[in-house]
């Protein structure tokens, strides 16, 4: 009796797995039929939930626009959303589910580099292309040839802030307060240090914390004693808001500098007025007057009643880059799709012209934003080496206007020397 049961169980399991197999290969092999299923994973309920939700909004808005315009190659796009709660092990689990169970043609996500690093091997093993909208740690795309991103990487982001600190703020001494357990934060710390010391600056104090810490006064007091001109805090908004608050309460006047990890509405609730006068590097500015960005911002606001942060813009771009690649690949065959994504050249995204380089990273300029009265105000644009600012204006709507600094937008009233800001960039070109 027992044996019969066991045999039955075995047979049913086999049938089931076979059925799964067939269903899966069906979706992948038969091009031209049915909808195109794309996976998205991100932190929707955890400590960095603002990132995941913004990106999801951007991805879904792009997918809807694509469907409204007739889909990709006449097929509708459907996005399956998974929540990883901001934890690397959960990120790996949900990506396994997306690629093995849902048989998605590509995966979009994550924002936090640690989560992308944990999940990327799953996509790579299954040979399903993954596009991270905004993980900036260089190691992410080195996981394998199926892993891409549509944002710049930390060596550049760290360099941007170091240049801005040394050239625009005339800082000689910098202190660093970084998140010890975050690949993103550690990477930025390293690249900022390298660039800043190369520019003749000096790192006078270095302190660390871990995500979830509640008190930073110990670290900030040591930093204050070193009397730095600027303090680089390459963390995520949850901690940074509190750090800014506590630095104010210790009477620290040096501005805090950060990266795209600060970009969240919640930063303002946590840090409030203490954030005024700080600077971050970011992927785009909402105040950019180019028509493409204006349209994106207006559409997003109408849809979600919120200003799109950079993560929403990158989520939007990642979906559109993917759609463009599927179109060029003529279908969803994974090897052809991978090739097509790798061939992306001068794609007109809202976060600038996107060209995927040989390391599967996007080469793009970065903007520096000043924090003032609950707003990220455009200050300057810094270009990567070898990219000339006006040259891309023909292809990129983001750089469409000759100088975003010369806009009439009310936000640009604040920064005094925006016009000169491009000079360190052009200097770096040659």
């Amino acid at each position: 009796m027992k044996r019969t049961l066991l045999a039955l169980l075995l047979i049913s399991t086999l049938c089931f797995s076979f059925a799964c197999e067939r269903r899966g290969s069906g979706t992948n092999a038969t091009d031209g039929g049915g909808e195109i299923v794309v996976g998205y994973y991100g932190d929707l309920t955890g400590r960095t939930a603002s990132f995941g939700v913004s990106t999801k909004n951007g991805v879904e808005m792009a997918a809807d626009e694509i469907n409204k315009a007739g889909g990709i190659l006449g097929r509708r796009v459907r996005v399956i959303v998974e929540d990883d709660q901001g934890e690397p092990n959960k990120a790996a689990t949900v990506v396994s589910k997306l690629v093995n169970q849902d048989k998605v043609v590509a995966v979009l996500g994550e924002v936090a580099s640690s989560n992308s690093l944990a999940a990327a091997p799953k996509a790579q093993e299954a040979r399903v292309p993954m596009i991270s909208p905004s993980s900036t740690n260089p190691n992410v795309t080195q996981v394998g040839d199926y892993i891409f991103r549509v944002c710049f990487i930390d060596p550049f982001q760290g360099e941007v802030m170091a240049k801005f600190a040394a050239n625009n703020l005339k800082a000689k001494k910098a202190a660093i307060l970084y998140d010890f357990n975050s690949d993103y934060s550690r990477g930025l710390r390293e690249f900022f240090t390298r660039s800043f010391t190369k520019l003749g600056g000096q790192i006078v104090a270095e302190q660390s914390y871990t995500q979830g810490d509640r008190d930073f006064s110990g670290q900030l007091t040591q930093i204050r004693a070193a009397n730095p001109d600027v303090i680089y805090v390459p963390g995520y908004y949850g901690e940074v808001g509190v750090i800014s608050n506590q630095s104010k309460q210790l009477g620290i006047r040096a501005p805090l500098l950060g990266g795209d990890g600060w970009d969240a509405e919640q930063l303002w609730q946590l840090g409030g007025a203490s954030l005024n006068g700080n600077y971050i590097s970011n992927h785009y500015s909402v105040d950019d007057p180019s028509p493409a960005i204006k349209k994106f911002v207006a559409d997003y606001q109408a849809r979600y009643q919120a200003r799109p942060d950079a993560l929403a813009a990158l989520g939007y771009d990642s979906m559109r880059v993917l759609a463009d690649a599927i179109k060029r690949a003529g279908g969803t065959d994974s090897a052809k799709l991978r090739e097509a994504i790798a061939q992306t050249r001068s794609f007109a995204g809202v976060t600038g012209s996107i060209t995927i380089d040989k390391d599967r990273n996007a080469v793009k300029p970065a903007v520096v934003l000043k924090l003032q009265d609950q707003k990220f105000v455009y200050d300057t644009t810094i270009y990567p080496e070898g990219m000339t600012p006006p040259a891309s204006s023909a292809t990129s709507p983001a750089a469409g206007d000759p100088s975003p600094a010369a806009t009439t937008s009310p936000a640009t009233a604040a920064p005094p020397p925006p016009a000169k800001a491009a000079s360190p960039a052009s200097g770096s070109n040659r």
């Binding site: 939930a49 509640r214 008190d215 110990g218 007091t221 204050r224 509190v242 309460q249 210790l250 009477g251």
Partner: protein, 308 residues
């Protein structure tokens, strides 16, 4: 020197919060010989109670001592009720069984509260409104670089006031006498005509109210609150109670201040002796192990353990 003084202020500031929470651990232990592991979560509940009071009463951020007092009192009352409910429905029914049962119940209650909150409102951190205006105000300068912020002053003053009130209740009132009687021997106290159930309930209420005060106060310095904020802070406060001598009220205060200071000094000066600032959380638990090995009764605990 000013850096040292500053670190001391920072450390005592963190320590005052630990002390307020440790009082709840120590009072409940004194009466029931129970480590109430759900106490750290009551601290979280207190912070969220304050957050929602401010939200629904429409208190916007902005310097106002009145709003802070209203939020603080409201949160303390809500947490006191939560504490009494936990005692009534989770601990009282199992009190007659072995102490291990109550301890496991405490762990269960703790996980239940945390997960209820995560399920209801998500793990996303919330921003507590700034009622002291400390985000835009420079601190008061003491000497050199050493300074003290408004939030820190308020945390110190309110915690000291609450501790004095507690001292007064325990040593100067009839209820306090009854509490002490129950802590000496529950059954004898019952025979003397003390309503022990009511006294135990009151002890939970007072301890929970203190934890809620800690939750609201700390949110004035660190506005980031989330449903899991009580885990680590609660454990450290527990260590503080053990360090001071569990069951001993002045000991809990001393333990809290010492743990807070130790933690901050590790961040500030640890690198001189090869300890990175990321070891701050390990320090409290290293202290716990040392105390248990060297002086199990804690700094101020009585050496006579056989009370029961």
């Amino acid at each position: 020197m000013d850096t040292f003084v500053q670190q001391l202020i920072n450390g005592l500031n963190v320590g005052a919060i630990y002390a307020l929470i440790a009082l709840g651990y120590t009072m409940v232990y004194g009466i029931l010989r129970l480590i109430n592991f759900a106490h750290g979560d009551v601290y979280m509940v207190g912070a969220f109670a304050g957050f929602y009071i401010a939200l629904y009463a429409g208190f916007a951020a902005g310097a106002s001592m009145v709003t802070l007092s209203v939020v603080l009192l409201g949160a303390m009352i809500i947490a006191a009720i939560v504490g009494m409910i936990i005692e009534r429905f989770a601990y009282r029914p199992v009190r007659k069984y072995s102490r291990m049962t109550t301890l496991i119940m405490a762990i269960g209650v703790s996980l239940l509260i945390e997960n209820l909150f995560v399920a209801q409102i998500g793990a996303t951190p919330r921003a507590f409104p700034d009622f002291l205006g400390s985000q835009s105000q420079a601190p008061y300068r003491l000497f050199g670089n050493a300074a003290i912020s408004k939030a820190q002053i308020v945390i110190f003053l309110v915690s000291i006031a609450l501790m004095l009130v507690l001292q007064w209740i325990v040593y100067k009132t009839k209820v306090g006498t009854a509490m002490r009687a129950v802590s000496f021997n529950l059954n004898s106290a019952k025979l003397m005509g003390i309503n022990t159930d009511a006294i135990i309930s009151l002890t939970f209420a007072i301890g929970s109210a203190l934890a809620a005060a800690a939750g609201v106060l700390t949110a004035q310095y660190n506005p980031n609150i989330d449903p899991l904020m009580g885990i680590l802070t609660g454990l450290k406060a527990f260590v503080a109670a053990v360090l001071g001598g569990i069951g001993n009220i002045p000991g809990a205060v001393l333990g809290g201040l010492l743990i807070g200071a130790a933690e901050t000094f590790v961040v500030g000066y640890g690198h001189h002796i090869g300890i990175a600032s990321t070891y701050r959380d390990a320090v409290a638990f290293a202290i716990l192990i040392l105390v248990l090995l060297l002086r199990p009764s804690g700094l101020l605990g009585s050496t006579v353990q056989e009370k029961v």
